[in-house]
């Protein structure tokens, strides 16, 4: 069995903050972008040893913020370095994207045995080696062709055809476009920077630039949104030509600290009024949040309508045409390791979870050119904790003081947490979890630990047990948190 991992790369910049957004992102000037990209590249370099402990990188995800906001130069600088660090060699051959494992580890290119998501959509790359039987190009001698998933988030209005084409040429093979709604009024209320027309243009440009694997993000339960409005968004997305391969649909959550929170979250009238004056773009009078029943109907409608168009729900909020489930997203739920690079990014490697500092200035100064040079000179190689073992008996190394300062809340996942994670993450996927894989992964019999609680919810119709598989029913998925909290062990 090979140990693959993923990369998450965080770009904390946007044109303007959306009214509902509580992600780590804010508008900054292009100079800051450049400085940040340099720091980011330095961070990746510092992790060289850690990355090489794994057999390869199979998913890369550029999220934000708005990664597509970066200039072509910055994007190129970043993507080239990321792929290099991931051990992936990319080239465009007759308009076809080709990827090779430059570390030449035997067997790479075959699907990892424990990959939960079958992905026929990626077959075209996988089979090449065996089919030809020939050695590839000279300089790629002994290198095996692979098909990594390389996603970049795009906001309409930040990427024109030229930029998108550049991304394609750099090796990005999946785009996730944040459309959110087909209603310009809604988009305005959300504080989005684009119109529906701009989305359509971007969507078309993406395909023209060569992208086939495109995902579209939509949102439900928006202020003033009726059931009919939402249905229109759903249908318009499905009827796009060519149809998106993947759709993410999120219910609006009013998060503390966002402009929406001061309108829809807090109950204090006075505070509300003050905020309203400040945020003139948001007009509450005509935009109440849908009531609970409507919200629920929207939620049910999502899977019904998307199914009409051939999208299967594979995770609580994600739907895909067969074979186009996001491998990167799924890897979070199946506990596949991932390095999170960038401001505030979360990592899960060597059975250890941690996150980077969320302080932009600190991030930049820790990873500045000068610091890196001195840091490497005085490199010290101390394992995080020599007692803590993980898969392949490797531990996270923070060889440079810099990484120690960068990482926050570094926590080795305990056996107990491992079992809990296995369940509460795994059950987010509609295919559920396998008791056999649970045993392989944790060394503990599932029924010994969770037999009773599983049976309780099975009887209530919240969980479905088929052979060794345990998964949520539709209703169970709706209220998954309520149920999953019972899977935390004492």
């Amino acid at each position: 069995m090979k140990d693959f991992c993923g990369f998450y790369i965080h770009i904390p910049f946007c044109v303007r903050k959306c009214n509902y957004c509580d992600f780590l992102s804010s508008p900054m000037d292009e100079k800051s972008h450049g400085v940040y990209i340099s720091a980011l590249i330095n961070e990746i370099h510092l992790n060289k040893e850690n990355i090489e402990k794994y057999d390869g990188v199979r998913t890369v995800y550029f999220g934000g913020g708005t990664p597509s906001l970066l200039s072509e130069e910055n994007l190129e600088r970043l993507i080239v370095e990321v792929l290099k660090a991931a051990g992936i060699k990319f080239e465009l051959v007759d308009g076809v994207q080709k990827y090779y494992d430059i570390r030449g580890i035997e067997g790479i290119g075959n699907k990892p045995e424990d990959e939960l998501i079958d992905e026929p959509g990626n077959k075209q790359g996988d089979e090449l080696v065996d089919e030809s039987g020939n050695k590839p190009e000279d300089e790629l001698d002994n290198k095996l062709e692979i098909k990594p998933e390389i996603t970049l988030e795009v906001n309409p209005g930040t990427a024109d055809y030229k930029k998108l084409r550049r991304l394609f040429k750099l090796g990005v093979n999946r785009l996730s476009i944040g459309m959110q709604s087909t209603d310009d009024m809604q988009l305005k209320r959300l504080g989005r920077i684009h119109t529906y027309a701009q989305f359509l243009e971007c969507y078309e440009d993406a395909h023209r630039a060569g992208f086939d694997n495109v995902s579209v993000d939509i949102m439900s339960a928006l202020p003033g949104q009726s059931l009919e409005d939402y249905e229109e968004t759903l249908r318009k997305v499905c009827e796009l030509s060519p149809a998106p391969r993947h759709i993410s649909s999120y219910s609006l959550i009013i998060e503390p600290g966002t402009p929406f929170y001061s309108i829809y979250g807090g109950k204090e009238e006075a505070e509300c009024e003050a905020e309203e004056e400040a945020e003139s773009a948001i007009e509450k009078e005509e935009a109440e949040l849908p009531d609970e029943d409507t919200e629920r109907e929207m939620y049910v409608m999502t899977s019904r309508i998307l199914a009409e168009y051939g999208y299967q729900r594979y995770e609580i909020s994600n739907y895909a045409k067969e074979g186009f489930e996001s491998r990167h997203n799924s890897s979070y739920w199946t506990r596949i390791p991932y390095f999170g690079f960038g401001l505030g990014a979360s990592s899960f490697v060597f059975d250890t979870r941690f996150e980077n500092t969320r302080d932009f200035k600190e991030y930049i100064s820790l990873l500045s050119e000068e610091v890196i040079e001195t840091s490497i000179d005085t490199s010290i190689d101390t394992p995080l904790d020599s007692e803590k073992k993980c898969d392949k008996n490797e531990v996270l190394r923070e060889p440079y003081e810099v990484l120690k300062k960068l990482h926050r809340e570094v926590k080795q996942v305990t056996q107990k947490e491992k079992m809990e994670e296995y369940v509460y993450l795994g059950l987010r996927l509609t295919k559920g979890i396998s008791k056999i894989k649970f045993l392989e992964s944790t060394g503990v019999d599932f029924d010994n630990v969770y037999g009773k609680v599983t049976e309780k919810y099975r009887k209530m119709g919240m969980l479905i047990c088929e052979g060794n598989i345990v998964r949520f029913s539709e209703r169970g998925l709706d209220i998954s948190n309520y149920i999953l909290s019972d899977f935390l062990l004492d």
């Binding site: 998954s480 948190n481 935390l488």
Partner: protein, 605 residues
């Protein structure tokens, strides 16, 4: 040690309506007699439970011995027994009174005579005590000394011409009280040579000394080593220590003799061997008859007390036993509830008593409790002629076997300024009160006499009375007896299952209203579940009210961004923590607060 001269002993207590300054005066007396130096004085020495200080009330009778040099140059021993003021604790007052020859009646000169002033005076007169009236708070601008004196003379019939007028707070004229004690209150007159007779008026458990009994010696004398006998229980033991009460500590002495107030230890380990109200005598030369004991206190209010954590049952039992030791009025017996598991059905004198016990259990014994709705003792006459006392609604026999039921009725005296008479009469009517009479104390004040069902006043009657009279009305009651009544058991069904801990017995005419309020209240307390949960109130299987807790609509964490799973874990942990505070009944998670919330059903809207 020579025989103590009884003529120089004064055993007395201080009685007053709540807040009239009883404990403050006690403190001044202790201070003036030098029992404590100023530096040692902590405010209100005698209220030494945290709870007493916080609430500004006296719960337990406290005893202290001090020595006063009178103006005639002679030394007198004062045994002062401080008493609680609240009507719930009348039994404590009564115990204290039995140990005294005299009582100081403190009346707040800004308030005048109040309901409990009267109640306590009558109690003292029942015990043939000499009463010394004292007017307090004369330093306040609103004090009306003459009117108050007149009122005491008119209403109580005590001569106030010599009554000390003081401010216990500032210490003004407190020496008048001290002299009054010497000159007005009688000395004890026991027989030193008669067989030993001492009344147990309190007891306390000490882990080193065993049970410490607080006694008032009526006749005879004892020394360390004497074998003593409890006349009611027949238990015999050798005296290991005797002594008197210094403020806040025990002071051993060589002999306890007629007229004295003190304590005895005799390596008694079992609390039940030393009943408050029993008479201690000597084994060698026993008294022929015990002293008249106290009226046995009967609990009037019952409720179930359960540990939140079912594993804490032994701790709860232990705590109740310890509290019962010096709180004879507290009773408890094991019971079990489907909803709450194992616990105890406890009997109390009133709601304040219940409240105090519950708080002491939680604070002093660090227990987390769930309490069921308090109720009274009903007499159920069954068709087969049997009569059963029902304290737990779950034990009410099937309707078919009930011939009729009786509920306890109290005689209530409500003293009020005349402008609130109308409001108070309305309140009493709402509570099924039977009007008896109105007696005018003076032009602007009257005593309203009512007969009220006890179960109508145990919840919040006092609070509502206070709010409707803007604090001017005061209230005292005593049990009159049992009367026939139309009573039914109101059951609460959650998700179609009866939750036994929420059942209670109620007057038929108010069942609908109560049921509706219960359902409304519970709807607000029970969080949404995975499915719709009906909450119903039913009488005899017939549903009379219903509310519905909607199902959780959606409970998913929609976005888990960039693999940040710590947020998800925190959310799940929070949810799990919330569930821990719930009881699961028929798949429904019921928070413990729901059981408590229904206790506060009647608060004024």
């Amino acid at each position: 040690m020579a025989e103590i001269d009884q003529s120089h002993i004064r055993n007395f207590c201080i009685i007053a309506h709540i807040d009239h300054g009883k404990s403050t005066l006690a403190d001044r007396i202790i201070e003036r007699t030098g029992a404590l130096t100023q530096r040692e004085m902590q405010e209100q020495v005698l209220d030494n439970m945290d709870l007493e200080r916080e609430r500004g009330i006296t719960i337990k009778a406290q005893t202290v011995r001090c020595v006063y040099t009178a103006k005639n140059g002679e030394e007198y021993v004062f045994n002062l027994i401080d008493t609680p003021g609240h009507v719930d604790f009348n039994y404590e007052v009564s115990r204290a009174l039995a140990a005294c020859e005299g009582a100081i009646l403190v009346v707040d000169a800004t308030q005048g005579v109040e309901a409990q002033t009267l109640g306590n005076v009558y109690l003292a007169l029942d015990h043939d005590l000499e009463i010394l009236p004292v007017l307090n708070k004369i330093d306040l601008a609103s004090a009306n000394v003459d009117a108050t004196k007149q009122e005491i003379e008119d209403v109580i019939g005590l001569d106030c011409s010599e009554a000390p007028c003081i401010s216990a707070k500032t210490g003004l004229n407190v020496e008048d009280v001290l002299e009054g004690i010497v000159n007005t209150l009688p000395a004890p007159n026991g027989d030193y040579n008669a067989p030993f007779q001492a009344l147990i008026f309190d007891s306390k458990y000490d882990s080193y000394k065993g049970v410490i009994v607080f006694v008032r010696v009526k006749n005879g004398h004892i020394k360390v080593g004497d074998p003593i006998k409890m006349m009611a229980t027949g238990v015999v033991a050798n005296v290991t220590e005797i002594g008197t009460f210094a403020p806040g500590k025990f002071m051993p002495c060589e002999e306890l003799s007629a007229g004295m107030v003190g304590y005895i230890t005799a390596s008694l380990k079992d609390v039940r061997d030393t009943r408050v109200g029993d008479t201690v005598t000597t084994a060698a030369n026993p008294a022929k008859k015990p002293l008249p004991g106290y009226k046995k206190v009967m609990p009037m209010v019952y409720c179930g007390i359960y540990p939140s954590d079912t594993k804490k049952l032994p701790e709860l039992k232990d705590a109740l036993e310890k509290l019962q030791l010096n709180d004879a009025a507290l009773t408890f017996e094991p019971e079990s509830s489907q909803a709450l598991g194992f616990g105890y059905r406890c009997g109390f004198l009133g709601l304040l008593h219940l409240d105090i016990i519950q708080e002491r259990l939680e604070r002093e014994y660090d227990l987390d409790l769930v309490t069921t709705a308090p109720g009274v003792v009903y007499k159920v006459y069954k068709t087969d002629g049997e009569v059963v006392d029902v304290t737990n609604p779950s034990n009410l026999p099937n309707v078919n076997y009930i011939d009729h039921m009786e509920e306890p009725i109290v005689k209530a005296d409500i003293m009020t300024t005349t402008e609130y008479i109308g409001a108070i009469m309305t309140l009493c009517q709402e509570r099924r009160g039977k009007y008896i009479s109105t007696e005018y104390v003076e032009q602007s004040r009257a005593v309203l006499k009512y007969e009220l069902p006890l179960n109508e006043i145990i919840y919040d009657f006092f609070d509502v009375l206070k709010s409707r009279s803007k604090g001017y009305a005061s209230f005292d009651y005593e049990l009159k007896g049992y009367e026939n009544s139309e009573l039914v058991r109101l059951d609460i069904l959650i998700n179609k299952e009866i939750v036994d801990a929420l059942s209670f017995i109620v007057f038929k005419g108010t069942a609908y209203e109560r049921g509706r309020k219960m359902c409304e209240k519970l709807k607000g307390e029970i969080p949404r579940q995975m499915f719709e949960v009906p909450i119903q109130a039913a009488v005899g299987g017939q549903v009379i009210a219903r509310e519905t807790v909607k199902a959780i609509r959606k409970d998913v964490l929609a976005k888990c961004y960039g693999g940040d799973i710590s947020r998800k874990r925190k959310l799940l942990e929070k949810q799990k923590e919330g569930k821990k505070r719930m009881r699961e009944i028929g798949n429904v998670q019921i928070p413990q607060s729901a059981f408590m919330a229904v206790l506060k059903l009647d608060t004024e809207d």
